[in-house]
Symmetry: C3
Subunit: 258 residues, 3 copies
Amino acid sequence: MLERMRHASPLVQCITNFVAMNYAANVLLAAGASPAMVHAPEEAGEFARLADALTVNIGTLSTDWLEGMLAAARAANEAGKPWVLDPVAHFATGFRRRAVQQLLALQPGIIRGNASEIMALAGVASAGRGVDAGDSVQQAEAAATRLAQSTGAVVAVTGAVDFVTDGSNAARIHGGSALMPRVTAMGCALTCLMGAFAAAIPENLFLATVSALACFGAAGAQAEPAADGPGSFAWRFVDALAALDAAALAAQVEQISV
Amino acid sequence: MLERMRHASPLVQCITNFVAMNYAANVLLAAGASPAMVHAPEEAGEFARLADALTVNIGTLSTDWLEGMLAAARAANEAGKPWVLDPVAHFATGFRRRAVQQLLALQPGIIRGNASEIMALAGVASAGRGVDAGDSVQQAEAAATRLAQSTGAVVAVTGAVDFVTDGSNAARIHGGSALMPRVTAMGCALTCLMGAFAAAIPENLFLATVSALACFGAAGAQAEPAADGPGSFAWRFVDALAALDAAALAAQVEQISV
Amino acid sequence: MLERMRHASPLVQCITNFVAMNYAANVLLAAGASPAMVHAPEEAGEFARLADALTVNIGTLSTDWLEGMLAAARAANEAGKPWVLDPVAHFATGFRRRAVQQLLALQPGIIRGNASEIMALAGVASAGRGVDAGDSVQQAEAAATRLAQSTGAVVAVTGAVDFVTDGSNAARIHGGSALMPRVTAMGCALTCLMGAFAAAIPENLFLATVSALACFGAAGAQAEPAADGPGSFAWRFVDALAALDAAALAAQVEQISV
């Protein structure tokens, strides 16, 4: 799947937060996709018709940007392009809670969050407070399955071991590094990479999501040994992603039943 | 104090500029805090009540963001949470001069700036023009002391040797590296780290400020020898911060009298 | 010219996109200039009168920012300060197409783009779609020359070998690295560096543009051998720029006739 994505070099419209923009663009370029950070309401919808996929992340939301996100998601739907939702800390404020409901109503093909975000989205009590998870992935698996079944989206819960499900199929993805939560915007960049795989494999968003997670798991595991801390891990991860051998991905993935 | 901050892992709401957001978040994660970049007027005040401390930096100010900053500072005050002001280049335009007066009126617990910024804030003629200081820290010490006495804030002037005072106590912090002014957003990230220490030691903002400065002094000194230039210094500094031994901090601090 | 720019350490007002801000600021600091990212309509014009040069990049455009760009360009013109235009993906949406026409009417001294951007600006059919070029520099040379002649600006087309012309003089700049298009914001940072050289050599914007391109060509070639991928290339490039020997620049430049 990695070779197919690299060969397609899909144009991915990333509406992501200010913290993540640079790192996410570098992650997509390293992986072989073509990122475009286009979010303004004046053009987000028009651009979504040109792009091969869309990703929407509410990390640094504002009213203007929400308008751009909604316009882009509607345009993606109309044009039959897949789109991915990353509901960052959606439980933290009323503004985020309302925004995420509007976005969910536009039926994202993939939803990615940490355990606290996915649990709160499924209506389960969570320990989330800021942008970091207060719950384990395992605690969120049942909530993720219900969320996938009720929304029709592929749902990915990321953490030490990732969990992904479309409501009937499920997988756990291993690998990665304990340094990943110490580097900001890794999860946001992963959401963007899911957009790249969704563009390349639109007929199978479960496989697209698993592929993006496996890339992160493999690149994270490869970057860690030579890293002296989160600062060096960040760029070593980008190097590992650019050098990633497609054959390394399958080893990260454990197919399970739900 | 470093161990106390790491153990608390405080949630720090950082309203900082577009240039600094990614680096500041990585600095806080490396140091052991949990950063959240939340600034929109739609939610900044609500979030400030959840967070353990707030930092406000006017580097890339706009009318909307100023509204978010003021709402967050008011909410932090009401909730008894400490907040830190970083008046970036506040002397450069009328818009900034007015904004900083509104923010000062909300009584930040800590103010951090370079020599030109602190001198201008104390009403002393300075040589500042853009975001880089045109004056030395030593030239700004008297102005910093007066500013601390008139505002009740702890005032930190950062440069080759940092100066910090609450109007009666003062210290100089040594260490750091000549490469630090060659890396953008180091000062902005330091302001955010002061927020993390203020959250952990709210009863002693002078000590919180000194602790953050000592972390930067020690990590900067440790990162420099292996750095080949500002590019490698930036990530080596993050690695050094993550590996920092609390015992290394005291050596950076020189207690002085004002 | 590099020594002259470093000695002047010009204050460059960079209105650039959210993806590029941090990297562009670090590139300017490494090269020896003093960047200031000031874009809000509330102050962009006022600041442009203080700064030594202005650069405008429409990468993440919005209505507010366009207002700031236009105010800054007008102020730069009135104050006799040079300004540089980077029309990122201006062909992608109606909003961008209209914005770039308004900016062109304010007569930038330098225009930098990839081949697709420059061809589209000259009214030639191009293969551009997102932010990456779909055409080669060589295909864009004639369009660049016409654009320079019709606008009076120095026009630079960047790619594997760069082309720059003022309509009567022209040069190609060699060097660089195949990793450069794999790192986001390299072109945006280059536009900002052109602003730094334009501030230092306002009487010869052709030479200023060639100098900035030669810095990128030399630093890119020096950074590549030790880089393990785009992640390590990004910071090695900054280190190389900081260490750049002015004597290395001339070797990158091939004077040609148009």
